[in-house]
Assembly symmetry: C2
Amino acid sequence: MASQGEDGRLFLEDLSVGRRFAAGPVRVSPEEVLAYAARFDPQPFHTDPATAGHPVLGGHSASGWHTASLTMRMVTEALPLAWGVVGGGGEIAWPRPVRPGDTLRVEAEVLETGRSRSRPDRGWARLRVTTLNQRDEPVQVLVTRLIVPSRVPDSGTSC
Amino acid sequence: MASQGEDGRLFLEDLSVGRRFAAGPVRVSPEEVLAYAARFDPQPFHTDPATAGHPVLGGHSASGWHTASLTMRMVTEALPLAWGVVGGGGEIAWPRPVRPGDTLRVEAEVLETGRSRSRPDRGWARLRVTTLNQRDEPVQVLVTRLIVPSRVPDSGTSC
């Protein structure tokens, strides 16, 4: 079977375009929403459960960066890349708020892959990582480029 | 003075293109690097201080999402937007690792602003938020679009 290494670790050659991964679910603990917000995003619509009527968020919501953090946790559990889940960044969007008590899950898909031009031992994979709530509504869409090792070092023909 | 509201809160009209904000510094506590990683990004190069020789990260480093979280904390302290710092997302890049014990600060600049086409009470501002380490090297560059209230509701001429 060519889709995965013998030890379950994934290499560039395993990440065919269109391959999908699922992760989660996790519940967004109301206590953790408050703790995360107190430390990293201390704005009333994240720290105060009684918040109401915010013109953008409506009521009490989790920080978008908390959603990103929970998403990363789920991705690390679902994507056993040989060098780990290591990326240089990406594009992130939060189309709707996450509420305390929501349940989130992740759907990821490989959009594109390529080899490094300078390093024969590696390449990259662009993935769309969508975080959905319990109503299957996207709460975060991340398109990220991960650095992935190659099982077969490049001979140089694609440099 | 037109650059800020009487109570210090900022509106769309205060965010002229080129306006800059500085925030921080904060020290990246080695204990928090481990605690954040254990909860949200439990990969050995974040959870194990003895990590060495990772092909991308080199040694022990903070999760990029931890850097993003610390950046958000600094931004909330430096940018008193009238509705708070609320964004729909953006582009994020981590050009180099953050090491436990680093000291980070933020430089932000307004790149572009505009009015909402559908909501006369608000507009948006695109900001570049650069997080730098103690050697003034960028460790994160975030270009984000924030939703900002208008002091003077739009009359409709730009709809």
